[in-house]
Each structure stands twice: as structure tokens, then as C-alpha cells.
């Protein structure tokens, strides 16, 4: 892990120099991963711009830090230079109150739709007895800030348990073509990073595990890696292999589900059932290791909590062996289906140049032909010690992204087998947790590659038992604006395919889906009937 911390560099930048500096960086091939803001009290607001350089072999990492005054919280917007800053700046505007000048679209993205009506009351803050925020029902029915155009507006939502994260996608449609689309997030906003600043590091591991049910191993792993970077400690090699194994098992189950769901979204529920059947094998392995199917509580600072004995390794190995045969058969069936392939081909085309410009991550960017993978570029855990290849496809459409997931599944399976073999041969007495020293003041950054793309954690310690701040950027955060771009101009029937091929995770981002949209239709209908019902009553009187 010290390897990652060597690449970390902070550079201060003044408000005036921000635009020229960032322009230079972008011209030299940098990617703006995230922009985060921290309230530093009397010092003002600290704005961190995280850059990485994908073209360099071991991708460099740079953090530009600007401090703005409390009484004059303004910063020029980077969105005109690069769209990668768009959502990150909206987040800063929304949660910190920093005025980002010239941002083209400074609307609420996360806070409740009726936030200004119900919660921005001045008397609420003055009343010391109200410990919690006013949770009464809003006086006005919730409205959204999403555009209204003189076209038919479709709130979109095919119901599916796995896409159930509540997000609200609204599209304006002309004939069958999507003219515009917008997304309202915040239905899952649980203020987890705020809670992390209030709890100690060991409790934060459990909080980070509850950010997302799909990639909880990677969330905990990235958090503990960021804290370990502050400490500068070495992790026992056995723990690194266990981390790699757990991460890859998670990637396998997530990819398998994404592949199945894409089949379901194109009308082949059989594929989903096959993938659920195969997924149980992986869940069995995880349950044998940790006692839990979904959340494992496996990571701890300085190593892992769960030891993998030779018996565990043999069990996983046997499951992987049967999985290898059945999954290749499943993939063969999947790709032999002409109708399904035609539904995916040339749908949601993201050209390689666009993938760079918009800052795509994960299978989305690898499906457009770029070999960007944090596991190779910014190695962590034991990825340098096992042999594997980055998967890329050149199709740049939904089919290419599907194929990336399928091939990555086989690569992950191979990595898991290598890890199992090594863990079998390691003596059982070898340590899995390294001893901890006192945590110094400092900052740590860690990046990993969850199934959906790059995950970034930025943790700062102030010497106490709670972090000074925690900021995280999840893979869906850069990918969701691209999702909107891919939907625009396409056929409305292709929307589920595009969503499924990107496989967004909005519990992380706090996500953009789909079921809420279903509810919205119903709500609109019911509010109409309510109104007419009242009218009838009045007429009766």
C-alpha cells in the first residue's frame, strides 16, 4: 500500500491560478477524478481537485488544493473546461454553499425535492429543542427541479428488484426519440460521510460497508487503505491475498448479476435466472469464509479479520472449478442468441475520444478500447503478484461492455484460483493483521477498482480517534452523466439496454433509478384523483 502513497502529491493553488493550472493539466492528459470541498472552519473552505494521469504507466496522482475565504466563498467553475467537473461542483454548491461561478447548471442534485420549502426555515435553527431536522410532511406536494419541455415527458422506470435503487430519471420524448434526459439523485442520501466524521475509525469501516451492498468489500478495502496510507504501515502478504480474493469474488458476483440483468432488460429473463443460479456458488464461498452472504466485515485496519484456512481455500477452489465450466456454457448460450446481440449492438455508442473527454471509468471506458484499470495503473493488495491482463474491447457499444464483463469474469476467476493456491500453501500461523501504531496527523488517498470502475477515498486524520474528514468518489459518479448523454438522441426502447450496460450503482452515488419513477407516475395519477374527489365532495355540499 505504500506504493500507492508514493504516488500521492498535494499542490496548493490560488483562486486566480486555478483555471490556467487546470487547463494546463487537462492539456497534458490529466483526468479530473473528483472535486471535493471541506469546511475548515476559520480557515475557510478547502477545495480539493483530484487528478490522475491515465497515460502514464503507473498513473500519477495529483491533488490541487484551493482555499477560499469564509466571507467570500466563490471559486471559478471548471465545468466550461471539462465536463468531468460538472456533478462534483454541483455537490460542492449543494452541500457547502460555495458559490461556483459560471456553473452552467447549479441545481439541487441530492437534497430532497422540497428542501427549500420544508427545511431551509430560519426558525428551525433557532429552536434549540429540535435536535433532529423537521421531518413533518411537506405542506406542498413535492415538486422537482427537472426541466419541463413542450414535448411528452416520460418519467422512466421499468421495475426490477436489482435496479431498485430509487432514482428518478425523467426524459422528454418526441416520437420514439429521447430529446433530453435528466436525473434526480438523493433518494438514498444517508449522509454517511458526515457520520464517518463523527465516529471512530473502526466504526467507520462498518459504515463504509453500508454504502453499497454490491461493492462493500471494495468500499471497506479502500477506506482502510486510505487510513493505512496515513499510518504508512505494511500489510502482511497473506492479508493482501485475502483482500484480493474477496475483491475478485465480489467482482465475479457483481458482473454475473449485471450480465443477467442486461438479459432481463432486453427481455430474456432466463438469462437472469441462470446468472442468479450461478451467483449462489460465489455467495456460498463467501458465506463459508465470513458467515455472511452480502456484507462480510472482513477488512480491518492493518489487514483482514477473516483468515482463510486451507479448508476454505479448497472449498472455494472446488466451487470455482464447477463455476468455470457452467459459466462458460452460460456465456456461450448468451452470445449465441442473435436477437439479444442485435438488441445490444451499436446501442449506446461511446466513442473512445468521448470516453476520455467525459472521464468514464470501469467497464465503460474499457469497452471503448482504453486499458484503464486501477489494479494495473495504481496497484494495491496483491495484484502485482498474480498474473492477469486488463480486458478491453473495441466495439464501444453495449455489446462491447457486456463482453468486457464476461471476459473480466473469467480473469477474476483465474485470479481467485491463483490466490486460493497461494493461500493454501501459506503456513497457517502467518499473521493477517499488522500491529498498529498511533495514528499521526495527515492525509491519505486510496484508489481501488470495484466492479463498476474506479473508487477513490480521501481521508484526513487530525490525531484524534475520529477522521477530520472523509471524501469519496464512487464509480457511478462520473458514469451517470455519461449515461444521460448516451440516452439522449437514442430510441426510447434502448434506454434500459444502455442503463443495464453501464450498470449504475446509485446506492453508492446514492443512485439514479428507476422505481421511484414508477411511483411518480402513480403519484401524479393519485393526486389528480384526490383533487377531483375533493371537488365532488364540495359539489355535494
Amino acid at each position: 500500500m505504500s506504493k500507492q502513497s508514493d504516488l500521492f502529491k498535494v499542490q496548493d493553488v490560488s483562486r486566480e491560478n486555478l483555471i490556467p493550472e487546470v487547463t494546463d493539466l487537462m492539456n497534458s492528459g490529466a483526468r479530473l477524478m473528483y472535486a471535493s470541498g471541506v469546511d475548515r472552519g476559520v480557515f475557510g473552505f478547502q477545495l480539493d481537485y483530484h487528478f490522475c494521469f491515465d497515460d502514464e504507466a503507473k498513473s500519477r496522482y495529483l491533488l490541487l488544493r484551493a482555499l477560499v475565504k469564509r466571507n467570500e466563498p466563490t471559486i471559478p467553475s471548471l465545468t466550461p473546461i471539462t465536463t468531468q467537473a460538472d456533478w462534483a461542483e454541483r455537490e460542492i454548491i449543494e452541500f457547502l454553499g460555495v458559490k461556483v461561478e459560471d456553473h452552467p447548471d447549479p441545481r439541487h442534485l441530492w437534497l430532497p425535492l422540497n428542501w427549500d420549502d420544508t427545511h431551509a426555515k430560519p426558525d428551525l435553527e433557532q429552536n434549540p429543542e429540535s435536535k433532529r431536522i423537521n421531518t413533518d410532511s411537506p405542506k406542498k406536494p413535492p415538486s422537482d427541479h427537472i426541466f419541463i419541455q413542450p414535448l411528452s415527458v416520460v418519467p422512466y422506470g421499468p421495475y426490477h428488484p436489482a435496479l431498485i435503487e430509487s432514482n428518478f430519471l425523467k426524459m422528454s420524448v418526441e416520437d420514439e426519440t429521447v430529446i433530453d434526459a435528466d436525473l434526480k439523485l438523493g433518494f438514498n442520501h444517508r449522509s454517511i460521510i458526515k457520520l464517518m466524521e463523527r465516529r471512530d475509525y473502526y466504526k467507520d469501516i462498518y459504515l463504509s460497508e453500508r454504502i453499497c451492498g454490491f461493492c462493500n468489500v471494495h468500499h471497506t478495502l479502500t477506506f482502510v487503505m486510505a487510513v493505512e496510507n496515513i499510518l504508512g504501515i505494511e500489510i502482511p502478504q497473506k492479508a493482501n491475498y485475502i483482500r484480493t480474493l474477496l475483491g475478485e469474488l465480489e467482482r465475479m458476483k457483481s458482473h454475473l448479476l449485471a450480465i443477467g440483468l442486461l438479459g432481463e432488460l432486453t427481455g430474456f429473463k432466463t438469462m437472469l435466472m441462470h446468472s442468479l443460479r450461478l451467483r449462489e456458488e460465489i455467495l456460498d464461498s463467501l458465506e463459508v469464509i465470513s458467515g455472511q452472504r452480502i456484507s462480510h466485515g472482513a477488512m480491518t485496519l492493518g489487514g483482514v479479520k477473516i483468515d482463510i484456512t486451507p479448508v476454505h481455500a479448497d472449498f472455494i477452489r472446488s466451487r470455482l472449478k464447477s463455476l468455470k465450466a457452467s459459466v462458460s456454457e452460460f456465456f456461450e448460450q448468451y452470445l449465441a442468441n442473435d436477437i439479444l446481440i442485435d438488441r445490444l449492438k451499436n446501442v449506446g455508442h461511446l466513442s473512445p475520444a468521448d470516453a476520455r473527454t467525459y472521464g468514464a471509468v470501469g467497464p465503460l471506458v474499457r469497452g471503448s478500447g482504453h486499458p484503464f484499470d486501477v489494479r494495473k495503473q495504481f496497484p494495491y493488495a496483491a495484484y502485482e503478484d498474480v498474473s492477469w491482463e486488463v480486458i478491453t474491447e473495441n466495439g464501444a457499444d453495449s455489446l462491447a461492455r457486456l463482453k468486457v464483463r464476461m471476459r473480466e469474469f473469467m480473469v477474476s476467476l483465474d485470479i481467485c484460483e491463483q490466490c486460493c493456491d497461494i493461500l493454501r500453501s501459506v503456513p497457517s500461523s502467518s499473521p493477517i493483521v499488522s500491529t498498529m501504531s498511533e495514528l499521526p496527523c495527515g492525509e491519505g488517498v486510496a484508489k481501488t477498482e470495484p466492479p463498476r470502475g474506479e473508487l477513490l477515498y480521501h481521508v484526513a486524520s487530525n490525531g484524534t480517534n475520529t477522521p477530520e474528514f472523509v471524501r469519496l468518489r464512487v464509480p457511478t459518479f462520473p458514469n451517470a452523466p455519461i449515461l444521460l448523454r448516451l440516452i439522449k438522441g437514442g430510441n426510447i426502447a434502448d434506454v434500459p439496454v444502455v442503463i443495464g450496460s453501464i450498470d449504475p450503482c446509485f446506492s453508492c452515488t446514492d443512485r439514479a433509478t428507476v422505481v421511484q419513477a414508477n411511483k411518480e407516475i402513480i403519484i401524479q395519477k393519485s393526486s389528480k384523483t384526490n383533487e377531483s374527489g375533493e371537488r365532488i365532495k364540495r359539489g355535494g355540499k
Partner: protein, 139 residues
Amino acid sequence: MSLSKIFMKKSPWVYHAHAGGCNGCDLEILACSGPRYDIERLGIKLVASPRFADILLVTGPVPLHTKPFLERVYAQTPDPKRVVAMGACGCSGGVLVDDENYSIAGPVERIIPVTVRIPGCPPKPEAIFEGILKAMRSF
């Protein structure tokens, strides 16, 4: 009450209302509908609208944002109805309970009446079955 008697009453149709959970519970509900557990063999069906559901299966700690939507969903479900709160977050707020948490309106029982709670983070599919059976016994 034996299983056959429970399901002679009615095939329960379940609407899964996601109220800000982490997807862990939602994945386990999905696993319930998969071939190994196959919830439909008991006549339990996951439906796409609360309008024809008998049981609401609510996951998550109910963020402020989702609260009005959850209330509407409850109002739209026809009587008689039962609410099953699922997961540690749905039962009690779980790890997210905190005086300073500005964005949580839950747990579920603060918003809509809850009949059955399924603890666990996330509960196993067997526990979800048991929770739905308990809700059916209460009809």
C-alpha cells in the same frame, strides 16, 4: 397455522419499496426470486406496483427525500395490507441512527405502521420467507 392453510387464504403479492437502502437487502430479495430459493413456488409474487400488493416489503432507513414517496406508496396499497420492514436499517435505522444525521426520517415504523420486522444486515432469503409468512399469519 400450517403452510397450506396460510396460502389457501391468498397468494400474497409483495411490493418491494426501496427506501434508501444500500442494495444489500435488495440483492437478497432478488436472490429469493432466483432458482435456488424460488419464492414463487409458495405463491408469493413480487409485483411492480403497490396498487395490487398485499404486503409492502420496505428496505432502508427512509431518507427524508424518500419519505413522502413511501407515505404515498402506503396509501396506494389496498386494504387489508401489511408492512414488513426488512434489514437492520428498516427495523431500527441500523448504523445510521445518530442525533446529527440530517437526512434520515426513519426507521420505517416512524412513517408507516409495521407488522413484521426482519432483522439482519442483510437478512438471509430464509429469513425473508419467514417474515412474509409471519405477515400472512397476521391477516
